[in-house]
C-alpha cells in the first residue's frame, strides 16, 4: 500500500494524460466517436458509484443512489426550464439540493443497518420515481423534454466554457466535463479516505458503538458521508439530464441503484478507485458484448459470476494478491 510519493505523482500524471489527451486523440484518430458517450457515461456513473462507495465505507449498503441522481436531474432540468437558470449554476445547486435532502432523509434512516438500510434505500429509489410521477412540478409522467444544451459560462466577460449548442462536437465537451468532474470527485474521495476522516469512517464501519464511546459523533459523521455521497449522485444525474436533454421519472430506477452498488463491489470495497474501475469494466463489458446479440446478458452475467469467484474482494484485490505472491 505504501507507494512512494514519486510513483504516486507519476501515476496521477499518467492517468490525467490518458484521460484528457490520449483518449480524445485515440478517438479522433480511430473515428470511434461513440466511445465519447460510453466514456462519458462511465465517468458520470463512476461519480455516482463513488458516492455509494463512501456509504459502504461507513458500513452502509446503499441501493438508493438512483433516487439522488433522479432528483439532481430534475432539479437541474426544472431550474433551467422553468426559471431560466444557466446549467452551470444548476449543477452545484442540484448537488447541494440532493445533499440537503439526504440530510433530512438520512437522519432517520441512517440508524438502520445491514440489509435494512439496503432495503430502505432501495425503496427510496422507488419513492423518488413515484414522487416524480405524482408531483406537479416534475410534469409527472410526461417528463421534461427539450432541455437546451448547457450555455456558455463566463466570468467577468471571459468565456470559460463555450455554449455547447454552438460546438461542433458537444460529445467531446460532455466528455471533458464528465472526466473533469470525475477526477475532482476521486481526488476528494482519495483525500477523504487517506485523511483522518477515512479512519473515522472505518471506525463507523467496524463498530459504531465503540466509535461513539471514544467520542466520535457517529450520527453527524454518517450524515456528512451520506450527504457527500448524495451530492455526487445529484451532480451526475444533472449532467445526464443535460446530455439526453430530457428527464423522466424512469430516467434513474432501481436497476441503476443496484448497478451503482455492483460497480463498487466489482471494483473492490476496500479501494477508493474501486468504483471507477468497477464502472468501467461493467459498463464497457456490456458494451463490448454487444456483438454477442441475444447471448449478451448470458455471457455478461456468466463472466460476472466467474470474476466474483476468482476475485471476491474486487478487481483491485488482484494487485494485492500478486504483491503477496511476488
Amino acid at each position: 500500500m505504501t507507494l512512494s510519493r514519486n510513483i504516486k505523482i507519476a501515476a496521477v500524471v499518467v492517468f490525467l494524460a490518458i484521460v484528457f489527451i490520449a483518449v480524445p486523440a485515440v478517438i479522433s484518430a480511430s473515428g470511434r466517436f461513440d466511445l465519447y458517450y460510453t466514456l462519458t457515461s462511465v465517468a458520470l456513473l463512476s461519480i455516482a458509484s463513488a458516492g455509494v462507495w463512501l456509504t459502504f465505507y461507513i458500513g452502509r449498503i446503499n441501493i438508493g443512489q438512483g433516487a439522488y441522481a433522479l432528483m439532481g436531474g430534475y432539479v437541474s432540468a426544472i431550474l433551467v426550464m422553468n426559471h431560466g437558470w444557466s446549467f452551470w449554476l444548476t449543477l452545484p445547486v442540484a448537488g447541494l439540493f440532493c445533499a440537503a435532502a439526504s440530510v433530512l432523509i438520512g437522519l432517520p434512516i441512517l440508524r438502520l443497518r445491514g440489509v435494512y438500510f439496503a432495503m430502505v434505500t432501495l425503496v427510496l429509489t422507488e419513492v423518488a420515481r413515484l414522487l416524480a410521477l405524482a408531483l406537479p412540478i416534475t410534469n409527472g409522467a410526461k417528463g421534461i423534454v427539450s432541455i437546451p444544451l448547457p450555455g456558455a459560462l463566463s466570468v467577468f466577460g471571459i468565456t470559460l466554457i463555450p455554449d455547447f449548442a454552438t460546438l461542433q462536437n458537444s460529445r467531446l465537451a460532455f466528455y471533458l466535463l464528465a472526466v473533469t468532474l470525475m477526477v475532482a470527485c476521486f481526488a476528494v474521495m482519495y483525500r477523504l479516505v487517506n485523511s483522518r476522516i477515512g479512519k473515522l469512517c472505518q471506525s463507523l464501519q467496524q463498530n459504531e458503538e465503540l466509535a461513539s464511546s471514544i467520542g466520535v459523533n457517529i450520527a453527524y459523521l454518517r450524515v456528512i458521508a451520506y450527504a457527500v455521497s448524495s451530492f455526487f449522485g445529484g451532480v451526475s444525474g444533472a449532467i445526464f439530464a443535460a446530455i439526453s436533454q430530457s428527464i423522466y421519472p424512469s430516467s434513474f430506477t432501481v436497476t441503476d441503484s443496484v448497478n451503482f452498488m455492483l460497480n463498487c463491489f466489482l471494483g473492490g470495497l476496500g479501494y477508493v478507485f474501486g468504483p471507477m474501475l468497477g464502472t468501467l469494466v461493467l459498463y464497457f463489458g456490456w458494451d463490448l458484448l454487444f456483438q454477442t446479440g441475444q447471448f449478451q446478458l448470458l455471457i455478461y452475467s456468466g463472466l460476472m459470476i466467474v470474476l466474483m469467484l476468482v476475485l471476491p474482494n474486487g478487481l483491485l484485490s488482484l494487485a494485492e494478491m500478486t504483491r503477496k505472491k511476488g
Binding site: 485523511s195 471506525s203 465503540l210 461513539s212 471514544i214 467520542g215 466520535v216 459523533n217 459523521l221
Partner: protein, 259 residues
Amino acid sequence: MAEMLEVSGLTKRFGGLVAVNNVSFSVREKEILSVIGPNGAGKSTLFKLISSFLKPTTGEVRLKGERISGLAPHIAARRGVVRTFQETTIFKNMSVRDNVIIAHHLRSKASLFGFFLGTGAAKVDEAAFGQSADEILALLGLSSLANETARNLPHGHLRALGIAIGLATSPSILLLDEPFAGMNHDETMRMVEMVRRLRERGLTILLVEHDMPAVMKISDRLVVLNFGQKIAEGTPSEIQADEKVIEAYLGSEDEAIGL
C-alpha cells in the same frame, strides 16, 4: 476528596424487567470504585446508563454537579466519561496501533474539514497521537503486537486493547467492564498495577469485575448490586464480611475446589 460522579435514583426498565432499580451512590475524585454482583444484576446496564449509552427510565447521573445522563454517548465521552465494553469490542479490521490512534479522536484540535485539507493542526495531531498510542501500547504490554490486525489477537490481549482504547480518549472517569476477564493471575496482577498507576495520574476509575482477589486488592470502595438493587456499599473488608453479599454473590469458601 471531591465528589466526581453522583448517581441518584437511577432506574432502568426493559419492558417488565427492572434491570437497575433506584440505585444511588457517588464516586470521589481519583477513587477506584468497583461494582460487583451476580450475573444479570444490572452492572453493565448501570455502566451504560452512566456513559449515556442508555437513557435512564428515571433518576440521573451528575458529573461534577452537571447532569450528563440522557446525552448522546459521544458527548458524555467528550465530558470525560468513557467506558470499555464487557464483550471484547474493538475495531476488528484495523491494526492494533490504529485502534489506539483513532481513539485519540477527542483530543484532536483540527476540525473534520481541517483533516480533509491536512492543515498544520491536523498534522500536529497525527504526530502526537502516534506517539501517545505507542506509549499506551507499551504501558499495556501490547507493543510487540502493534501492527497485528486486531481481530487476530487472543482473548486476553483483546481485553487489554479494549482498555488501551479507553485510555487513549484521556477520560477523567474510566468505566471498565470486566477488564480482567480471561486473564490469568499474573496478567491480572499486572493490570491491577497499571490501573493503580492510572489513578495516580489523576484518573477516576469505576470497575465491574468478577475476579474477587483482584477487586479486593484494587478497590477503595465497592458497591454491590443484586437484582438491580444496591444491597451493600463499603470498603473491601466490609463487603467481604457482609452476610448478604456472601449469600448472594461470594459464596462461602470451598477448599475442595480452591475457591
